[in-house]
Amino acid sequence: MSLRETGTRLYNGETEIDFIGRWKRWFAISGVVILIGLLGLFVRGLNLGIDFKGGVSWQAPIGHASVSDVRTAVENAGVVAPTVQTLGTGGVTQVRVQAKTVKDNAKVEAAIKKVTGSTTVSHTEVGPSWGSEISHKAVRALIVFLVLVSLYIAVRFEWKMAAATLAALVHDILITVGIYAVFGLPVTPATVIAFLTILGYSIYDGIVVFDRVDENVKRAGASGSATYSDIVNESMNEVLMRTLNTSITALLPILSLLVIGSLVLGATSLEEFGTALFIGLLSGAYSSIFIASPSLALLKEREGRWVAVRRRLEGRGLASQTRLTPTTMAAEAGDGAAVTTAPSVARATIQPRARKKGKRR
C-alpha cells in the first residue's frame, strides 16, 4: 500500500490495523521496556533532586566564570563536596551548585555573586524530612486517583474497562519510572506532579476508544454477529484518526515547552515539566492503544457470552480469528469502501457507520 493510500485511509477512518490480534507483540515490547527500566531502577536507582533528599541549591547566571571557578569559590566559602553544573544552552547560561548542607548561606551567596559578577542568586534549601513527606503525599494522591478513576469507569462503563484502564496506567507508571532510572533524568516535585496530571489526561484516549466500543457492542454485539475482539478492533480503527489528532494537539504545546522554553530560552524548570509531560504523554498514547484495548478484549473474550459467539462464528468459519493469527492490513485493490468489502463477514455486519434509526440511543 502506498503511503498516500495509507494516509487517505487513515484520514477517512478506513484503516484495518489489527490491534487486538497482535496483542502478544505489544505486550512483549512493553514487557521488555519495563524490564530494562526495572533493571535500571535496581542498578542505578532514581536521580532524586534535593527536594526529595534534602539539601541546598544555588543558581545564578554564570557570567564569565567557569564551572571550576565557581566550584573553588563555593568550596572556599565552606561548602562541602558541591555539585556544580551549567544549565540551559540558549539565553543566559545559569550555573547551579548543589550540596548536602550549608553553614553560612549568606557567605556562599556572596562568594557566588563575586565569582560570577551576578547581582542576584536564587537559593533553595530543603529539610531532609520534607522530601519523604511530599513523596508520601504524591504516592497517596496517585493511589486515590487510581481508585477514583477505576470506580468512575466501572460505574460509567463496566469494571472490565476499569481494569483495562488500570493496566494501562500501571504500564505508564512503570515505563516512565524506568526511563527516568535508565537515563538518570532528575526527578523533582515538578516531574512527579506533571506526570501524575498527565495520567489523568492519558485516560482521555482510552475513554474515547471505550466509548466507541461500548456503542458498537450495543449495536452490533447484541446480535452475536461479531466477536468482542473484532468489535474492539473495528472501534480502534474508527477512532484512530481521533486518537492521532488528540495526541498531536496535546503533544504540540508540550513539545513547545520542552524545545522553546527549555532548550532555546533556558528555563530549567520548564525542562523538568516538559520532559515528564512528554514521556508521560507518549507512554499514555501508546498504552491506550496497545495495552488498554487488547487487555479489555482478552478479559471480555473469557465471558461465556463472547466465548459462545466466537465458537459459533468459528464453526461457520466466519470469525476473523484475530486472537490467533494476526491479519495484515487489508489492502484490497481499488477498494473504495474498505469496510463493506472486507473479507470478514463479521466486520461487514458491524458497520457502525451505517446506522439504523431505531438502534440509536
Binding site: 543558581q59 545564578a60 547566571p61 539565553g91 548561606n105 549568606a106 551567596e109 542576584t120 542568586v121 536564587s122 537559593h123 533553595t124 534549601e125 530543603v126 524530612s129 513527606e133 503525599k137 504524591a138 494522591a141 486515590v144 486517583f145 477514583l148 478513576v149 468512575y152 515538578a190 512527579v192 506532579i193 506533571a194 501524575l196 496530571t197 495520567l199 489523568g200 489526561y201 485516560i203 482521555y204 475513554i207 474515547v208 466509548d211 474508527e238 477512532v239 481521533r242 489528532n245 488528540t246 494537539t249 496535546a250 504545546p253 508540550i254 513539545l255 513547545s256 515547552l257 522553546i260 522554553g261 527549555s262 530560552l265 524548570s269 515539566f273 509531560l277 457507520r353 451505517a354 446506522r355
Partner: protein, 501 residues
C-alpha cells in the same frame, strides 16, 4: 430550539468579552507567583499533634512580622499541616527568612508608662486602660482609668533585635493606638499552664489564667511589685496599683491592672470590656505562650527577580508558540471547523484570563510557573474536545447523514465522550490539588479550571456555532470541513435522513 442556541451563543460571547473588558477596565491582572517575579518562599511545619488554634496563632505572629517587613503582597497559608509563607519581591531575603523562622515568646512585663504611637503628632498623651487583673472568683473587678504622661522627645519603638526579656523596651499595643514603656520581664510563657475565656453570669467575658506551680512564684513576685505601685511598676490610676503587660512577639496584647498582691495559681482572672472574640484571642495568646510552637523550616526557596522574569518569558513564548502550532494544525486539518476552534479558544482564553485575574486580585491566587505550564498543557486538552467532535461529525457524514442531522447526532455522542474524559482529567487535578502541597498545586488548579471551562465552552459555544455554520450552508462543501468524500446535500430527501443509505 434554534433560537435558544443562538441565544446561548450570544450570551456566552457577551459574557466572555464582557468579563475580559471588565478585567481590563478594572485593571485586574493575574497575580504572578514568586517563581515568576522573584522573592522568598518558606514552608514551615509544626510538630505532629499541634492544636489548630496554636498554629493559627503562630500564623498570626508570622503575619505581624511580615507586615513589619513591608512586603507588598505576602501570602501566608496553611496547606495540610504545613504553613507556607510566600514573600514576593522582598528585598532583604536572608533577613526575611531568619525572621519567619524564630519562635515567639510570651512575656509578662511591668508597665512603666504609656505613650502615643510612633510618628503621632503629639508625644504627650492621655490614654485609658480598660482591663484589670483580679483574684478570681468573687473579687470585684473594677475598670480603672489610667493617665500617663511622657516626655516630649519622640521615643523609638524597640527593634525586634533589641527586644530582650531582661531589657526595658517600648512596644506597640495590639490595636496600634498607643505604645507602652515596659520594664524587664518578670514572668514568661512557660510559667503559664493554661488559659481559657469564660463568660460571667453578668454576661461579661473574662479570661481565666492558670500558672504552673513553679511559674506562679515568678508571677506573684511581679504582681507584688505592681500591686505596691513602686517605681519599677508605677501606679497608674486611682487604685494606686501598677499594671502588667502581656507581650507576645513584640506586641502588647493586654495590660491589666493588678488588684491583688498575691494570686493562687489557678485563680487569676483577667477582666475588662472584652468581647467574646477578644477574650478568646487573649486566651489563645496565653495558651500559645505556654507552649510556643516550634515551626521547623522544611524548605526555603529564594528566586532572583531576573530568574523569575526569564522563566515567565520562556513560559509565555513557549505557550504562545505551542498554541499557534495547534491552531494552525486545526485549520489545515479541519478548514472552516478549524476557525470554530480558534473562536472557541478565544472565548476560553477570555474567560480563563478574567477568572485568573479576578482570583488573583480577590483571593490571592498566584500564577506560578507550574500554573503557566498547567495552562499550556490544558490548551492541548481543550482542543482535544474539538477533535473528538469533528471526527465524530465526519463519521456521521460519511455514513450518509445530512449535515444537519450529523451535526446534532455528532454533538450528542461526542459531548458524552468529552464529559467522561474531562471528568477523569478533572478528578486527577482535584486529587492533586487536595492531596499535595506547595507550588505544585498551581499546576493542578489551572488544569482543573481549564477542564471545567472546556465543558462550558463546548456546550454553550461550540455546539450552537457549528449548528449555525451548518444552517448558513458554510459546511456544505466537503473540503471546507476537511473531508474527501462528498457531503449529502441538504436538499436531497430531507424526510429520510437518518435512515440507511
Amino acid at each position: 430550539m434554534r433560537q435558544r442556541r443562538t441565544v446561548s451563543l450570544v450570551i456566552i460571547t457577551l459574557l466572555a468579552f464582557g468579563a475580559l473588558v471588565g478585567t481590563l477596565v478594572v485593571g485586574n491582572t493575574p497575580q504572578l507567583g514568586l517563581d515568576l517575579q522573584g522573592g522568598v518562599s518558606v514552608v514551615l511545619q509544626p510538630p505532629k499533634g499541634t492544636p489548630k488554634g496554636t498554629i493559627d496563632t503562630a500564623i498570626g505572629i508570622i503575619r505581624n512580622r511580615v507586615d513589619a517587613l513591608g512586603v507588598a503582597e505576602p501570602q501566608i497559608s496553611r496547606e495540610g499541616s504545613a504553613v507556607v509563607v510566600e514573600l514576593p519581591g522582598v528585598k532583604n531575603q536572608q533577613k526575611a527568612i531568619d525572621l519567619i523562622g524564630t519562635t515567639a515568646e510570651l512575656r509578662f512585663r511591668p508597665v512603666l508608662g504609656q505613650i502615643a504611637p510612633e510618628g503621632a503628632s503629639t508625644t504627650t498623651t492621655t490614654s485609658t486602660s480598660t482591663t484589670s487583673t483580679t483574684a478570681a472568683p468573687g473579687a470585684s473587678s473594677t475598670t480603672t482609668s489610667s493617665t500617663s504622661t511622657t516626655s516630649t522627645t519622640e521615643l523609638k519603638t524597640t527593634t525586634r533585635a533589641n527586644n530582650k526579656a531582661d531589657a526595658q523596651v517600648i512596644l506597640p499595643s495590639k490595636d496600634k493606638q498607643s505604645r507602652y514603656v515596659l520594664g524587664p520581664a518578670g514572668s514568661i510563657g512557660k510559667d503559664v499552664s493554661t488559659a481559657r475565656a469564660t463568660v460571667q453570669t453578668t454576661g461579661q467575658w473574662v479570661v481565666d489564667l492558670t500558672m504552673t506551680s513553679k511559674g506562679i512564684d515568678n508571677f506573684n513576685k511581679l504582681a507584688a511589685i505592681c500591686f505596691a505601685g513602686g517605681t519599677t511598676c508605677p501606679s497608674v490610676g486611682s487604685g494606686g496599683h501598677g499594671r502588667v503587660a502581656i507581650e507576645l512577639d513584640g506586641i502588647v496584647e493586654s495590660a491589666p491592672e493588678i488588684q491583688t498582691s498575691s494570686f493562687k495559681r489557678d485563680q487569676i482572672q483577667i477582666s475588662g470590656s472584652f468581647t467574646g472574640r477578644e477574650a478568646k484571642d487573649l486566651a489563645l495568646v496565653l495558651r500559645y505562650g505556654s507552649l510556643p510552637v516550634q515551626l521547623k523550616k522544611q524548605t526555603v526557596e529564594t528566586v532572583s527577580a531576573t530568574l523569575g522574569k526569564d522563566s515567565l518569558h520562556a513560559g509565555l513564548v513557549a505557550g504562545l508558540i505551542g498554541t499557534v502550532l495547534v491552531l494552525l494544525y486545526m485549520i489545515l486539518y479541519y478548514r472552516i471547523l478549524g476557525l470554530v476552534v480558534i473562536a472557541g479558544m478565544t472565548i476560553w482564553s477570555a474567560l480563563n484570563w478574567s477568572i485568573i485575574s479576578y482570583l488573583g486580585v480577590h483571593n490571592g491566587l498566584a500564577l506560578s510557573l507550574s500554573g503557566v505550564t498547567g495552562l499550556v498543557v490544558s490548551v492541548g486538552v481543550t482542543v482535544d474536545s474539538y477533535v473528538v467532535y469533528f471526527e465524530r461529525l465526519k463519521d456521521e457524514l460519511r455514513s450518509g447523514r445530512t449535515m444537519r442531522s450529523a451535526i446534532d447526532s455528532a454533538f450528542k455522542h461526542s459531548f458524552r465522550t468529552v464529559v467522561i474524559a474531562d471528568t477523569s482529567a478533572f478528578m486527577a487535578a482535584a486529587v492533586l490539588y487536595l492531596l499535595t502541597v506547595g507550588p505544585v498545586r498551581g499546576f493542578a488548579f489551572f488544569l482543573g479550571l481549564s477542564t471545567i471551562l472546556d465543558v462550558v465552552v463546548a456546550y454553550f459555544f461550540k455546539r450552537p456555532l457549528v449548528v449555525l455554520l451548518g444552517r448558513w450552508g458554510l459546511l456544505q462543501k466537503s473540503r471546507f470541513v476537511g473531508m474527501h468524500t462528498t457531503v449529502v446535500p441538504e436538499t436531497i430527501r430531507p424526510g429520510l435522513r437518518g435512515t440507511t443509505p
